[in-house]
Amino acid sequence: MLDDAELLRRAYELDTDALAAIHDTYYQPLYRYISFRVGDRDTCEDLVSEVFTRLLSTLRQRKSLPGNLRGWLFGVAANVVSDYFRHSYRSQQTTLDEHIMSRDPLPSEIAEQMVTNEELRQAIRKLTPDQQHVLALRFGQNLSLQEVARILGKTEGAVKQLQARAIAALARQMTPGVVE
């Protein structure tokens, strides 16, 4: 298995194997990252594709990428999601969670879960960008505090603070009156 540095070196040459390896390694984490924040499956696929398009663009222009490719990709994913919500009218709509729609038909459960998930995503959008990023990496990727800190270029202490405050803010939105 090639490390990121070697992958990147070959990726700059648009080596097919290296690009395929990057894609195969990061497609699922990126999809999970984006699906944490966007419920619509087609949109998730489009946005992951946009992340890879931006990677290609960066490689073609020979712009430098950091050694931490994963962190860079998650950063791009965060920007892509932000752009999506900023520019898309769909952000104003309540989208059906297609991931849940594709499951076995249990109407009441689906309805409840859809509402809960969409409410959660809407509440998450009200957090600061850094808080959103931390939650998506911690709860969407199950990354450790150290890994999240490395990806964000912050200290573990800063990540802990972002995490705790994000959860508190979310809980206040989801259960008003219960959490102060």
């Binding site: 097919t16 194997d17 894609h23 497609y27 699922q28 990252y33 594709s49 890879f52 809960t116 969407g140």
Partner: protein
């Protein structure tokens, strides 16, 4: 503002949640703060529900598009990328004709410097070709030949190809003659049965293609099963060797297989679909509930003793647990009604026994009946 000690506790609790503990287990550590922590932890726990895994076919499509974009948009000086890409492709195709480079590109394999040229030329051919179906089939065969060539030369390259599942034997499959290795990390989707056309994504190794993704991927016409191919009951597919696909010379209605003769009867009952569960309808599927039509004693009954890594006497389905079991309906034409027709059906006209010395499935054709789906265009 959250007090520092609570913030610290909350972070510890979140670590525990991410490590897999339940909210109640975590709260038990801080009984005096449980009332404060519970809504916070419930909120945190609900966040695990948000992220989902991508469907394997989406990954394949994305990969294909990504590599294609990389291959077709290399030059930086292009003002109109699409036009320029096309123009370069055409010029390339023309210039390659009759040249030595053409031969070199045509014989290149994944990982070779000229492989990108080869694929670019193919794209041009696909764009301007008249008989695209024929061409696509030809290109699919070319991909498979490339994989075989890589395997023969023991080269390790990333590959993608489309083929027919010929044999499912635990972790070793055969797909259009190509050995494919399946393990727990392999993502699989769709009804993976002998005869199904699948797209395989993986890497060539000394022993075959180590699959990362196996997915039933219908072609443009929506076909993903070759005509006249058998479907195998869940039990049969979960065990070892399955006979190769029937030849087209069989009746077009031949579809049903019998399960393993050595199988424990319990798994033979169909895995009910959710619809079935709701309706509570008993299954009339002959493969599922009716006595087995002579489970074709295997030539070597001692298979039971030897071959089974998983075996405890009565054979439980072997671990192809990652395989998504087929629908219990024995015919691909759907319909419970169709199943009942089987009772009054004419006797089978053909029996197919596997060539392997340790066959585990016998295929008998179903009677003529719902045959509209059998008119699939061939995928070969």
């Amino acid at each position: 503002m959250m007090e520092p000690s609570l913030e610290h506790i909350l972070n510890d609790c979140i670590d525990a949640l991410i490590a897999g503990e339940s909210v109640d287990e975590v709260l038990a550590r801080y009984p005096d703060k449980a009332a404060t922590l519970r809504p916070l932890l419930n909120t945190a726990a609900s966040l695990f529900e948000l992220a989902t895994d991508p469907p394997p076919e989406a990954k394949i499509a994305s990969r294909r598009a990504f590599l294609q974009r990389a291959a077709t948009t290399r030059p930086r000086f292009m003002i109109w990328p699409r036009f320029a890409t096309l123009a370069v492709g055409i010029l390339l195709a023309i210039s390659l004709l009759g040249s030595g480079l053409s031969w070199a590109a045509n014989t290149s394999l994944p990982g070779d410097p000229l492989y990108g040229v080869k694929r670019a030329v193919e794209q041009v051919q696909l764009t301007f070709g008249r008989d695209n179906q024929q061409l696509k089939r030809s290109l699919e065969e070319r991909r498979r030949n490339e994989v075989l060539a890589l395997l023969e030369r023991r080269r390790k390259e990333t590959v993608e190809f489309r083929g027919v599942i010929e044999q499912i034997d635990s972790e070793r499959w055969s797909v259009s003659g190509i050995p494919v290795i399946i393990d727990t990390s392999t993502q699989m989707q769709g009804e993976l049965l002998p005869g199904t056309v699948v797209t395989i994504l993986g890497r060539t190794t000394d022993e075959g293609v180590q699959a990362t993704v196996v997915v039933v991927e219908p072609d443009k016409e929506g076909n993903n099963i070759l005509p006249f191919l058998p479907t195998i009951s869940p039990t049969a597919t979960s065990s070892s060797t399955v006979a190769p696909p029937m030849t087209p010379s069989l009746s077009s209605t031949a579809t049903v297989t019998t399960p393993l003769p050595t199988a424990n009867p319990a798994p033979l009952s169909p895995t009910p679909t959710d619809d079935d569960e709701e309706e509570g309808a008993p299954h009339s599927s002959p493969t599922a509930t009716s006595p087995l039509p002579s489970p074709s004693p295997t030539p070597d009954d001692d298979d039971e003793e030897e071959g089974d890594n998983d075996g405890h006497g009565a054979q439980s389905p072997s671990p192809a647990s990652t395989i998504i079991p087929s629908s219990p309906s024995p015919t691909p034409n759907d319909g419970n009604e169709g199943d009942n027709d089987d009772q009054s059906s004419p006797p089978p006209t053909a029996t197919m026994t596997p060539p392997s010395p340790s066959p585990t499935a016998t295929m008998t054709p179903t009677p003529p009946g719902d045959d509209e789906d059998d008119d699939n265009e061939d995928d070969n």
